[in-house]
């Protein structure tokens, strides 16, 4: 039953993504930037998905430290890995966009730098996990670091914003210029990517659960 729901959600997300790409391809080109502007439908939504993942990882880590149930630890690692992949995709699409519009692949602008720092923070989280063998200690230390990292995200964003800014300001809030039908597609694409992230997380969660079961069986075999 769980499998069917998972595959169902995954299939629906794929259909929605395909439909979105078809609609986005049919949109008129933006006046100043041309076709490349349409990358925003993926670039910005991926950043939002990654940010959601880091929030879920934070909540799971806190819940693990409170309840000591391993399911929250599994949730934290699954969602962090998925979020890291989305953040990497966000950095890459941003780089492509920057190459076309600014003429450079990378610039040390506020949001690019913040995104890279966040990526490094969560990559550190995964490296920390790999360096610890004992499951309880791994889960505890990883949860502590995840809390540190999540608290750092807003501080990093604000500090680097003060440092410099070249990134275009958001177009949705405060006198934005995004037409409403484009916004609808944008939110639909966000929904599709969130569903993809949820399916990835669920798959990764099952791997973690299987891994835990294998480990406990192995321990039992050793004990006998």
């Amino acid at each position: 039953m769980r499998n069917k729901i998972l595959f169902g959600v995954g299939a629906f997300a794929m259909i929605l993504l395909a439909r979105n790409i078809y609609v986005i391809a049919g949109l008129p080109e933006e006046v100043n930037q041309g076709a490349i502007f349409k990358i925003i439908f993926f670039h910005a939504t991926m950043a939002m998905t990654a940010l959601t993942c880091s929030f879920v990882a934070f909540v799971s880590s806190v819940l693990f430290l409170i309840t000591r149930k391993f399911v929250y630890d599994e949730m934290a690692v699954a969602v962090t890995e998925v979020g890291l992949a989305f953040l990497a995709a966000n950095l890459i699409t941003g780089s492509i966009w920057g190459r076309i519009i600014w003429g450079i692949w990378w610039t040390w602008d506020a949001r690019l730098t913040s995104a890279l720092v966040c990526w490094l923070l969560y990559a550190g989280y995964l490296m920390l996990r790999r360096a610890i063998d004992e499951p309880t200690q791994r889960a505890t230390f990883a949860a502590v670091f995840s809390i540190f990292a999540f608290i750092d995200v807003p501080i990093v964003i604000f500090s680097i914003k003060w440092w410099r800014t070249q990134h275009p300001q958001p177009v949705f809030w405060a006198g934005g210029s995004f037409p409403p039908d484009w916004a609808a597609i944008f939110w639909l694409n966000l929904l599709a990517l969130m569903m993809v992230a949820a399916v990835f997380t669920a798959v990764r969660l099952r791997q973690e659960a299987a891994q835990r079961e294998i480990d406990s069986l192995r321990r039992m075999a050793h004990a006998l």
Binding site: F148, A149, I151, D152, S159, I160
Partner: protein
């Protein structure tokens, strides 16, 4: 014993242990010197370039040299199972962390205060004109570095690749504090006082210290005791 007394006991124990061997301080100081030397090869330091880069250079030296000291903080307790004894002692983990962080703070600050005049001599920088505000910046940023560094030192003490993992975990977390310290130091070393334009960096350092001191004190029990 009261909390403050426990903190002082742990701090003095760490300082005494370090000052008897001086192994971490010596290593940290020589490393700081080597990095300072290497920078002179990395680019041709003329006075104008040095002034704009001084903050960045200094804090890279401080962060690297500080990491060497912080790495030893809990690793020193591993032989003879001293760490288990410390955890079993009737003292809250927060006192243990605070004592160790204060000892590290004093040691890192000492290395920085030796490296700073040497930097001035090597690169012909008159860094003393805003000394009060410069010291304030150094104290605040060093505290931020040592409080996160000490708890990460506890986090990494028993794991593989300990020496590598500490900077990998600590530096990205420290980026806001280091960024603020670099901005302030560059401007102060060049002789400009803190004004309305860059006072927000100072607030940022204070905020960083307050947030991470609080979070570390709350979470240290979990890290040490489990």
């Amino acid at each position: 014993m009261g909390f403050a007394r426990l903190v002082a006991v742990v701090m003095l124990k760490d300082l005494r242990a370090e000052l008897r061997t001086k192994e971490a301080v010596n290593a940290s100081l020589s490393f700081a010197l080597v990095v300072l030397l290497l920078f002179s090869f990395a680019f041709d330091p003329d006075e104008e370039a040095m002034r704009t880069m001084s903050g960045g250079l200094l804090w890279i030296v401080f962060a690297f040299a500080g990491t060497l000291l912080l790495n030893r903080s809990f690793a020193r307790e591993l032989p003879n199972d001293c760490l288990d004894a410390l955890i079993a002692a009737p003292a809250p983990a927060a006192a243990l962390l605070l004592g160790k962080a204060l000892a590290n703070f004093i040691l890192v600050l000492a290395v920085e205060l030796i490296a700073l005049p040497l930097f001035g001599v090597f690169y012909n920088i008159r860094w003393t004109s805003q000394i009060g505000e410069l010291m304030l910046t150094i104290v605040l940023a060093t505290w931020g570095m040592t409080i996160t560094g000490t708890i990460f030192s506890a986090l990494t003490v028993n794991i593989r690749l300990r020496e590598v993992m500490l900077p990998i975990l600590n530096f990205p977390i420290l980026i806001p504090a280091l960024l603020a310290a670099m901005q302030l130091t560059s401007s102060l070393v060049a002789g400009n006082p803190i004004t309305d334009a860059n006072v927000s960096w100072l607030k940022m350092l204070i905020g960083f210290d307050a947030i991470y001191t609080a979070v570390s004190l709350v979470l240290v029990e979990t890290v040490l005791v489990g």
